[in-house]
């Protein structure tokens, strides 16, 4: 889990660096559609809520899986008797 967290941190660093560094010099600018910029930011917030929610739920599932695996009940038992 720690490693996954480190990877996530790596990406956030890359992302923030890219955002701060800005884009390379170009000639023309095409702004995003002549929307209210707020609609775009709002959509981005919803998107992140979606992603973070998914990540949290998957982490919950992983915790449960680890708990179950520690109990050892997920392994196949060799000599399971059949009802004949």
């Amino acid at each position: 889990m720690l490693r996954v967290f480190l990877i996530v941190l790596f990406f956030l660093i890359i992302g923030t660096t890219a955002l701060c560094a800005g884009a390379e010099p170009k000639v023309e600018v095409f702004p995003p559609a002549s929307y209210d910029r707020h609609i775009i930011y709002q959509a981005l917030i919803f998107f992140w809520i979606g992603i973070i929610g998914l990540v949290v739920i998957i982490a919950m599932k992983l915790r449960e899986i680890k708990r179950v695996q520690k109990m050892g009940i997920d392994e196949e038992e060799g000599n399971v008797p059949f009802l004949d």
Partner: protein, 339 residues
């Protein structure tokens, strides 16, 4: 089907100090699938003709619902895909995952690296703006300087003697048809080989492993988390930093000021600058290209040069060689960026 299911359930991944790098391969795959999807969406509207290409992109960005977003997603997806690809390449190099019996995994991987670079170049050219045009002129011209085969490669890539509308058609064919199909074939082989051999464990860690972790469901879910966060980063970058497009290319105009290739070419660019125009009576650029080609060829064949790793022994020389490649690449890229 049942044996496949049983096989899948029994697949495990080793645990050790460096196992975090195992995520890089799958992440590269995810990003390339992302590129396929956004690329297919853009291909619905892009017109691959020298007269209309530039305008079709302008139309996509200004007139379509969320057109700017899909173009931006494709742009940033490409940047991250190549970045993660380099992380994957260098991590497998330094952890010596290429050693016997996985030589073919490395070779297929290298082929995909070359394909990915060409994906980037051809995709960028489709903008048909001044910068893209100059970049392809330089790149194909550079390829033309290879001894013996240079002129063949140059003519093949350009579709003629110079960069023209024919080049655009050709690069479009590469970018949307030829390269994707070749990638799927080679990637299929690459991934199949990894399933057969399992994940490579670095020599230093062979005796220090923890218990192997099952791929289903543990690592499958961990992969998903990593992919989701990566997706989040790509989308955020795409929304907040949509790429621009330069002026439409004019084959007769001079090259614009301060022309620079995409960042993953910068190290080559900088290396060429190191060589003087003439050296020992021969064309400096040709010598540079020969040396670079030799270095790339060595890189390609490294599993066969690293004899000690092949025998399962520690190979510090090749760790240094690998580190040199990484440091050289990083330093030259950064210098190229700053100048």
């Amino acid at each position: 089907m049942e044996t496949l299911g049983a096989l899948a359930r029994s697949k495990t991944v080793p645990s050790h100090r460096f196992d975090v790098w195992y995520f890089a391969g799958g992440l590269t795959l995810f990003l390339f699938v992302f590129q396929f999807i956004t690329g297919m969406a853009l291909a619905l509207y892009y017109v691959p003709h020298a007269e209309h290409a530039h305008k079709s992109i302008v139309d996509i960005v200004t007139k379509l619902n969320m057109g700017w977003l899909f173009r931006s997603l494709h742009h940033w997806g490409a940047q991250l895909a190549i970045l993660v690809l380099f992380a994957h390449v260098f991590s497998t190099l330094l952890l010596k995952a290429y050693r016997k019996p996985r030589e073919l995994v490395w070779l297929t991987g290298f082929v995909m690296l070359a394909i990915s670079i060409f994906f980037g170049l051809s995709g960028y050219f489709l903008l048909w703006d001044e910068r893209a045009f100059a970049a392809v002129r330089v790149a194909t011209g550079g390829a033309g300087n290879l001894p013996l085969v240079g002129w063949v490669i140059k003519g093949f890539l350009r579709g003629g003697l110079d960069v023209t509308g024919e080049t655009l058609t050709r690069f479009y064919a590469f970018h949307v048809a030829i390269l994707p199909l070749v990638t799927i074939a080679v990637a299929g082989l690459h991934i199949l080989l990894v399933q057969i051999h399992g994940m490579s464990v670095p020599l230093s860690q062979e005796r220090k492993q923890g218990g192997p972790e099952p791929f289903f469901p543990n690592l499958f879910y961990k992969d998903l988390i990593v992919w989701l966060v990566c997706l989040g980063v790509v989308v955020t970058l795409a929304v907040l930093l949509p790429p621009e497009i330069g002026r439409k290319a004019d084959p007769l105009a001079p090259a614009p000021e301060n022309i620079k290739p995409e960042w993953y070419f910068l190290f080559l660019f900088q290396t060429l600058k190191l060589f003087p125009g003439e050296m020992l009576g021969m064309n400096g650029e040709t010598i540079a290209i020969v040396i670079i080609s030799a270095a790339i060829l060595f890189f390609f064949l490294i599993p066969f040069f690293d004899r000690r790793s092949a025998m399962g022994q520690r190979s510090p020389l090749f760790t240094w060689i690998g580190t040199f490649y990484l440091v050289y690449f990083t330093v030259m890229t950064v210098i190229g960026f700053l100048t």
